[in-house]
Subunit: 473 residues, 3 copies
Amino acid sequence: MSQSIAANPDRLLPVDPGTRAIARELLAEVEHLPLISPHGHVPAEMLAEDTTFPDPTALLVSPDHYVTRLIHAGGVGLDQLRVGPGPHSVDSRTAWRHFAAAWPLFDGTASGYWIRSEFEHVFGLPAETVDSFGAETADAVYDAIAAKLAEPSFRPRQLFEDFGLEVLATTDDPLDSLEAHRLLAKDESFTGRVLPTFRPDPYINVAHPEWAARVDRLTAEAGDGVGGYAGYLRALENRRRYFVENGAVSADHGVRTPLTLKLSGPEAEALFAKACRGQATAADRDAFEGHMMYEMARMSVEDGLVMTVHPGSFRNHHTATFTQFGADTGHDIPFAVHYTEGLRPLLQDFGTAKDFHLVLFTLDETVFSRELAPLAGFYPSVYVGAPWWFLDAPDSILRFRSAVTETTGFTRTSGFIDDTRAFCSIPARHNMSRRMDAGFLARLVAEHRLTEARAHEIIVDLVDGSPRRVFKL
Amino acid sequence: MSQSIAANPDRLLPVDPGTRAIARELLAEVEHLPLISPHGHVPAEMLAEDTTFPDPTALLVSPDHYVTRLIHAGGVGLDQLRVGPGPHSVDSRTAWRHFAAAWPLFDGTASGYWIRSEFEHVFGLPAETVDSFGAETADAVYDAIAAKLAEPSFRPRQLFEDFGLEVLATTDDPLDSLEAHRLLAKDESFTGRVLPTFRPDPYINVAHPEWAARVDRLTAEAGDGVGGYAGYLRALENRRRYFVENGAVSADHGVRTPLTLKLSGPEAEALFAKACRGQATAADRDAFEGHMMYEMARMSVEDGLVMTVHPGSFRNHHTATFTQFGADTGHDIPFAVHYTEGLRPLLQDFGTAKDFHLVLFTLDETVFSRELAPLAGFYPSVYVGAPWWFLDAPDSILRFRSAVTETTGFTRTSGFIDDTRAFCSIPARHNMSRRMDAGFLARLVAEHRLTEARAHEIIVDLVDGSPRRVFKL
Amino acid sequence: MSQSIAANPDRLLPVDPGTRAIARELLAEVEHLPLISPHGHVPAEMLAEDTTFPDPTALLVSPDHYVTRLIHAGGVGLDQLRVGPGPHSVDSRTAWRHFAAAWPLFDGTASGYWIRSEFEHVFGLPAETVDSFGAETADAVYDAIAAKLAEPSFRPRQLFEDFGLEVLATTDDPLDSLEAHRLLAKDESFTGRVLPTFRPDPYINVAHPEWAARVDRLTAEAGDGVGGYAGYLRALENRRRYFVENGAVSADHGVRTPLTLKLSGPEAEALFAKACRGQATAADRDAFEGHMMYEMARMSVEDGLVMTVHPGSFRNHHTATFTQFGADTGHDIPFAVHYTEGLRPLLQDFGTAKDFHLVLFTLDETVFSRELAPLAGFYPSVYVGAPWWFLDAPDSILRFRSAVTETTGFTRTSGFIDDTRAFCSIPARHNMSRRMDAGFLARLVAEHRLTEARAHEIIVDLVDGSPRRVFKL
């Protein structure tokens, strides 16, 4: 009596039958539109090289900190899940068995939903198999997926096409050569757009352990022979231009808080020098990072890169885990952030700048109704970023739409971004977003707050128009 | 196939058919009760003079910063919308065309819903016209509304009656002569109650650019010849008494934060003197404003004016806009506020004072369950203000009721306030509130948490009893 | 035409008929499972002595600050409700009449729902009687309940059995002899488990007026003759061991904020000495309390007591009420708290400690999605505590599940705790929790996010497995 969950045509739609019927119609408009993914973490090399995926664990478990963190909470060490650079204490199959045994932890989670969707839709596992996934069936599922991964149709480029991806943005170091992107752009056999994204965090955040070394290298490589603060700014501008030339549409900033600050040239130069001497205090570091956000906005106004900001995550909360396994291993924890005062210096000068786009993301959902919707409802530059990371899930998406729409409508939101390093989860994530938007719009129709005709236009705009417009695609 | 949205009898009611049926019955109890509006921004002069409205733009667009802000976010300059004092760079019709072109931005917003309701209910536009409102039909709609505005039945007093308004409070400067209110009170041909509200912000907030000049004028005009801090307090007391004599029931305070402070007489006097000398620091200003909130509460205990507090808005966030267009032009942005510690000095001394009413509003909805409901559920003086400004919308109202009711029930909330300067939106706003309360109560009935009989009593009390009781009408 | 609300089999279940049908099936799995109450405030003496309850007011009104606070907000002095230690200004019947007259204030509140359930289910009052409860029927209801209380079946132990209680934890002073617990454990005629809980707040919070005296007594009684800071720690360890020997499974901490701090031995000793001399500043007190949270975690790692933390309540907000009526009389008011940074020192060292359980409760629901779910989704020690106090209510529970589940699933939550001193409300509270979980799970099933089979397993685990596992029962 197993039922397919991931294939149920009504999955994630509202439970009220009348509303569900409206949502179905809305979904039909967009379910099969191409996927536009203007922000994420899939490496371009994967597509450039188009090599087969090594094994189910390396594809679905080890690199996905959404997944490993919850298994870790359930009591399995990250070393048992092959997290971080090797050598690993277990083989892939053993790690997979840990995952299978931990599968019940994922009930009700977004990750559980995506993985189930991948099992059914990407790997074609029958619903019965997915229903019975666990310690006893771990090996059989591992083998079934491994067999699929060996097939030519499971190479990255073929999946890119099968997923219906049209645009995929990666996230890249400012000094990245972008070789993989250039190769893909030149390759006529590959028709997708794979765009780099300029992500300068370690060059801007003085607290980053490698900041000074990175800045040295940046200035040396791209500073046009100019040294000091002037060379540093020049180098950032040059590398941004290089990214633009290679198709980049946005610059992404993973700052600690949304604090911005406008320093005078001499003030900024003095802080920079102090930081280079390793003498910056915590307050100096915050001031310099805040000032550099201002400078990044200035450069975005000049070179047209959309500025996306992802603040509010306490990175590497558990030092012992960071030491052993590195960053992005599941212990980044959100905290409260404040945009209204923090962004003011930047918005004072650039909030109404022509063609400037500033997309604000949050992990603190209290700011959706309190700060982001009001900001995006006045400043032509500001867009509310789609729910991100821990909030990238069905109920969270509905809370976001409910919190934002009444103040700022639909047009001031960014369109969906999947922000994922889990390539095979991309279709399920976009599909989920479309379903939640269909359900939200259907409720507004059922409550007679929107005509059905407009709702049909809006959902197409949310899925297709918004990301193209906001990310200048 | 156009459907009227604004006239649909089920608009805004819950989608579940069983719950909707209960909500309909509840709504029927109150839909046609008189409107009581104990806090808002319609000028009394409009009713006293009873002149025709100049044109559709001047009535519906330019003065309503809910509307102009979103058009501005869409890329139209405020000068194109005739915001602020003239001279304006476009005529009314051109500004209206900008509004019409921007109309899709309003889908799903509260303002969009109100305007649609006004189009249909106040101006009698057919649903088809409203459905097709946009750049191409801008002129026709402008002309249709302009023609209505020329009719005698569209004069303010007739609308007041047609809207079913019984009580309308205005918001007034402490030195206002209240001539318009006095004229209306004496005029036997006008049967509504138009009440002034004492709003002393610029006389209390030392950071206000005109504070010193206003305080001088206040003391000179109403200080009974006493100077300094004593004369300042005396003048405030005198003007409050004048407002009471002219029908005022409340004093409203648009403070930055809900901080209150009890200073000794000499401390307050010293701070006042320092501020008069233009030497107050930011900390001094906060302390003085906090202390004056304490003094305002003391005066409310003495003269019976209900004290309403509206904190948490960062006023005039974008300086360039403020400089060009003035205050209240759409760039006030909320931020996080904290009532529990901030209000304690005031509540320590007046929280249980006989007949003292303190109505607390918020733009930060996190405080509904965390602070306001717990405060109102203990202190006899405290009432939770209805959702305000950005939160004055269907989903927001349901979130408010859900957050507040389980701790403090229905009787400790203020009843609806429309807080609007958009006169023609008043009926739609009150109707919206009644529908949301009907829907909320209907759900409690359908979940067997409330008897239907009690729900019928409660909705009448929310619409009629609460505002009369809380605002001492 | 009175309908029983409290006995309606569908009470609190979702309104959508399809979802409700699923919820009914889920509820049937757990509605009659034994009650496990691992945290609460019922005194063990009540069961040890098994004396009859004195009267309806003393049982249902005076000790329940959820109830008296709302009547107080309605304008009745706490002296009229027999709150706090006597002498009281009114008799029990008069206080009951105040309660009856205030009954409409409770519409829609959690307390109103529980009391109604108690009236119907515990005291067997007919629905008509409950519907008409109020000033006019106060005496009749008082008499009906008083008559019940005089029956032998209304003695505490019989109710314990009738309620289906299996485990009931109390909250106890570290120096409590635990005589009542020992007596119950030895008594073969009583088969329930009544467990003490170690609650050292007044020995840890330097700001507590009796801190110094309590610490002296603690060290003298349990410090093994060692003095100073070393003796203080020794005494806490010894008393924890005594609690463990007498069945305790947890230590509970009602701290002001979730701040933790790791001081060196000499630093801690110096602070302790300073506090003993009465010279601790506010910063010293916070530091010492933060450090002691760290020490409490260390002891929990060593002795196995589950560590539960209840921060974020501003205790005794209204001094005049505290002076006259004492603590826990309804004026504790929540405020915003921050766990991510505050808990880091503790989690750095103990977050992955074997068998350490740290259950984090909150009155600030913004942290559910932002901080608690992410923490519990990584640290094996951390569990998200069930909604507590003001959040222990139907809508609040659904908001909690919605905010937490998508990030961290069901297994990282604590299971329900009733936290009550209102003994007769325990069945209604647990029943409410089961109904809300059934409704939440039913929605996930109806949205095809969870199979019905798994939902049936999960609800049993939530009601039975989670509390046993999390509280090591």
